[in-house]
Chain length 116, copies 2
Amino acid sequence: MSELFMNQSELEALTATFVDEGTLLPVVVQDEASKEVLMLAYLSREALELSLSTGRATYYSRSRGEIWVKGESSGNRQWIRSVSFDCDSDAVLFLVHQEGVACHTGERSCFHHKIT
Amino acid sequence: MSELFMNQSELEALTATFVDEGTLLPVVVQDEASKEVLMLAYLSREALELSLSTGRATYYSRSRGEIWVKGESSGNRQWIRSVSFDCDSDAVLFLVHQEGVACHTGERSCFHHKIT
C-alpha cells in the first residue's frame, strides 16, 4: 500500500490533472478481496488528495457539504489498495480493504436492494 | 434472466419509486462472471425502464443528451443479470454479461488508468 503515499507536489499535480476545483467525481468502491461493490461516493479534489496521502478512503458528502473520512465515527474504515480513473477521467474506482461493513444500515454493501 | 422482464405497469411503478422524472442516477456496471467493474454510466427513468424491459443495458448519455443502447453500434452489448439500488436509492448496480469489451478504447474495462 505504501506506493499510494506521495509527496505534496506529486499529489497536487496528479489531482489537478483529474479533478477541477469545485468538481465532484463519483467513485465506485470495491472490496479488494471479494470484488463486491460496496458503495458509490463522491470525491472533491481535496477528498482525493486526502485519500491518496493518508491511504484512508475520504469522500465529499453532498448532503452535508463537507469532507468525510469513511469510518471516522463508525469505525468502519476503508484502506485504499488501488486507485483508477476511467477513460473519460470522470469517474474513479477505489479498491479497498473494508473494516467491518460499508453500509450505515449494517449490511456489508450499500447495494442490498435487489430488484430481481 | 427472464425474471427481469416486467409488464408495463410493474415497470412504471418500480422506476417511479426509484427515479424522479428528469433525474439521472449513476449506475455501476460490473461483470457478473469476473466481478470486474466495467464502467460507470447514467440512467434516466426511461433508460432504466428500457433496461428492465429489454434486458439490454440502456443508458442516458449526458454529453449527447439522449438514450443510448450499449453496443448498438459497436456490438459490445451488455445483458443485464441483476439490478440493485443502494441504501439511499441514489445509485444503481447492474451485473451484466458483457459481449466483447466495455470500453470504446478496446480495453475490457473503462477503469484502466491505474494510479498506483
